[in-house]
């Protein structure tokens, strides 16, 4: 089975501004890829190129092995899309939209769409323009899944949703994964929500892909290390004791040192603890959000 999605050397320019710089990534079948980045990092430009809605300045975006700019319509038969801004025709109801989609997709499960809408609690006869933001996202998701896509692309789908709507959306995606093993590519700010779902993570910063890694390995190598030290003249300064680690962020607190490292391993930590002058050292796993903030947030503040 070919890769559902591949980005190769993608660069997107808007005049002199560069939204994406030489980005390359690939998504394996059945995986969930979460592309993270701050506002303006280039996520939406990448997604538009990926969906064949915008021509890349250079590089290629492939869906199911074919160029998405030239074969967009064919690729969309196998792809479901939930956009960041719900933009279905406002006068049409969810049922109208489902009926429209029934005419253009070779396989369309109107009953499944109706069932999802019912689960979401969306009134099917309400015009799309009259729905709340959360309901619009739910309608978009129901429509995106209506033709049982092999690939689901979600562009910040939980933006502006309340916790209940977010939960309903997660449940639907998890259900889709469980039922059919759909490949999912998503961009999001809601890191906590997708942490348990994503299998691979990419982080974009200023258009560059800083990181592209399996979630498991990512979480395994990132740790927060806290300790007090007696090595320096003051307890709140640090010296060379962290040299064995690649410290992404180090903050000096009143009680000691708080460091996030990106190459944690148990043996090295054991040697670290054994250093004379390192007291009360502890290492704890990090949530994805903290890893993201450490990488995509401000530059290493307080580091030596």
């Amino acid at each position: 089975m070919s890769e559902p999605l591949r980005v190769a050397g993608l660069t997107v320019r808007y005049g002199r501004a560069i939204a994406c710089r030489d980005v390359s990534l690939a998504v394996a079948p059945g995986s969930v890829y979460a592309l993270l980045g701050r506002n303006g990092a280039g996520k939406s430009s990448l997604v538009r190129c990926l969906l064949g809605e915008q021509k890349a300045s250079s590089g290629r975006t492939l869906l199911f092995g074919a160029d998405s700019w030239t074969t967009r319509a064919a690729a969309m038969e196998r792809t479901g899309v939930v956009p960041e801004e719900p933009d279905a025709p406002p006068a049409m109801t969810a049922l109208d939209l489902s009926d429209f989609c029934r005419r253009i997709y070779p396989r369309w499960d109107a009953a499944a769409v109706a069932s999802r809408l019912e689960r979401f609690g969306v009134a099917p006869a309400t015009p799309f323009g009259g729905l709340s933001r959360g309901q619009k996202a739910q309608v978009q998701l129901a429509l995106a899944l209506g033709h049982a896509p092999e690939l689901l692309v979600l562009d910040d789908p939980t933006l502006g949703l309340d916790p209940v709507a977010r939960r309903a959306l997660y449940d639907e995606i998890v259900g889709e994964l469980a039922d059919r093993g759909t490949t999912i590519f998503l961009t999001t700010h809601d890191l906590a929500g997708f942490e348990g779902i994503a299998t691979r993570v990419g982080i974009l910063k200023d258009g560059k892909l800083l990181l592209d890694e399996e979630m498991e390995s990512l979480k395994a190598r990132f740790r927060r290390i806290r300790y007090a030290n007696r090595l320096t003249e003051t307890r709140t300064a640090f010296g060379t004791e962290l040299d064995a680690f690649e410290a992404v962020r180090v903050q000096v607190r009143g009680w000691g040192i708080d460091a996030i490292v990106s190459n944690f391993d148990e043996a090295a930590f054991a040697r670290f603890r054994a250093i004379d002058g390192v007291d009360d050292a502890s290492a704890e796993a990090l949530p994805l959000e903290e890893i993201f903030v450490a990488l995509a947030g401000e530059d290493k503040g307080g580091t030596a």
Partner: protein, 615 residues
Amino acid sequence: MTGFFAIARREFRQYRVVLAAAAVASLGALAAPLFAAGPQGALARAVTAFLGAVVFAAGIAVGLGAATLAPGMATRRIGFDFARPLSPSAIWWGRLAGAMLLGASAALVLWVPSSMTGARPPWNDLWTGPKPPAAWPLLALGGFAVLFAIAHCASLALRSRSGLLALDAALAVLCGYLAWAAFSRLPVYRAEAPSLRIAVGLAVAAGVACLAAGYASVVRGRTDARTGHRALSAVLWTVIGAAVLCANAYAAWVHGAKPEDLREGFWVNSAAAGPWLTVSGPARGAEATFVYDAAGGRSERTFTPDWRGPVLSRDGRRAAWVEAASHGPYALWTWRLDAAGEKPVRTRILLESYPYLFVLSSDGTRMAIWEDGTLTVYDLEQQRALASARIPSGDRQSLGGTFSSLDIFRVYRADDRSIDLLELDVRARSLATLGRIETADGLRFFVADANGDRILTLGSRTLDVRLFAANGAPIATLADAPAEIRWPAFLPDGRIVLSERSSGSRRLRVFGSDGREGAAVPLPPASSISLGGEVAPGVLCLGVADAASRTSAWLADLNAGSVRKVADDLRPVTNPRAILDLGSEATKLFYGPRNESLVRFDPFTGERRVILGGP
């Protein structure tokens, strides 16, 4: 096509509420007679419903064109349609088709109730041009599509906020200028067909350009307004630019017509002496008039209206014409024909209105022009007016005139019964009334001799022919017995010939300069006979047409009283008021079959050469 139909259907359904608005508006049209009584009420209803339908449809075209795609592209949203398996073709043409269906439906909803009460499209009340073709609904749909595309292109271009807008504006001005240039290159008069071709061609090209540009913006831009703007500008200005360049090339081609391009029927006026003539007719789709040297082939297109073409002096050494323009002042041009390499000259003489009458003196140095009730004689060498006089002319009066000498210009102001004989003395700058010719039988035609000393009149009813002196004094009655056909002409030596059909037989009667009757020449049976020039002393050329309009050239020997046919399919070039010099080049010019060629033919040797036109 599935996507196309799905989008068209969705577009229609999405905005179908406008049909309800159209229905409400139709009630307004039905109520229009409340404000105008009688037949005016019915007209008010028809006009209100018709214009309402047009405005409604146009509003839908502009509204949907501006709002259906461009806003989404401008905000770089992932478009609902682009996230579906829909081609750009289906997205663009489907939306357009849906809008067209909606516009047509709204127009029908608005119009049909009024039409059921007997209202008909009020073309005659709204439009003074030609009646629209039967396929006008298709044209209206085409117009709707173009309006939709224009609105989309304008909306996208403005929303893109791109610097390309400045280039668009510059190109629009340039293309507008080039379009104007194409029209302005065409002759002012009788170029309706080329003008219409250019207008229709540019309109179609602009329509196609807008539709193609809209399509290109969707294909290339998708959700990127600036890319879409670039694509639409590239297509729009390429197509329109090519169209205006083609229009200019076509206009230049029409403008550059040569006498050799005269292919269809044309007509010729020749100088009394020499090889120069004026030739007019359709060339390259427009009416063209040339001053043409039948011997050497030199020519100049004069861009004059066919009803007031260039004039030649009797000696054939000078041509003059008034440049046609869409409005005055009109410049007088002259051309010395006897000087090799001489170019036409635009004189300083400007006329406020296009002249009704202009006549060159025999040597071409002076010109008499009548415009807006004033007769002025100009010196063409010095390009200044010498004398002028007020000569009003009534609605039913026509003016003619001739130089009696360089300083005397005689004016004939004629109506259907009489001729006023006037004389402008240039040296004395005075206008005198010489006399008046009254005809009891009515006046069909009159002609003066070369100096204006004698005048021949042809009556309206009995076709009596009379000869008068310059002051209107009767000299002789040449014919007063009723005849079926009669036509008089002066010969170069002052004698008079009269072609006549009476009691079924034709003859040519010859009179002396004093009106005394001389010989008579029996003529062959013919449907019509035209009098040509005197090719040799006492030998007159005739054009004879039979009942089937087949022409042949004949020679009449006025001394021997005999005629003989000299050629088939030829007819002498004639001008009822011109008196060609004896044996001049012009006496050997003939129209070929169906007036489609000009032939030089020597009736004595039989030598024949096509000068202009077909074989």
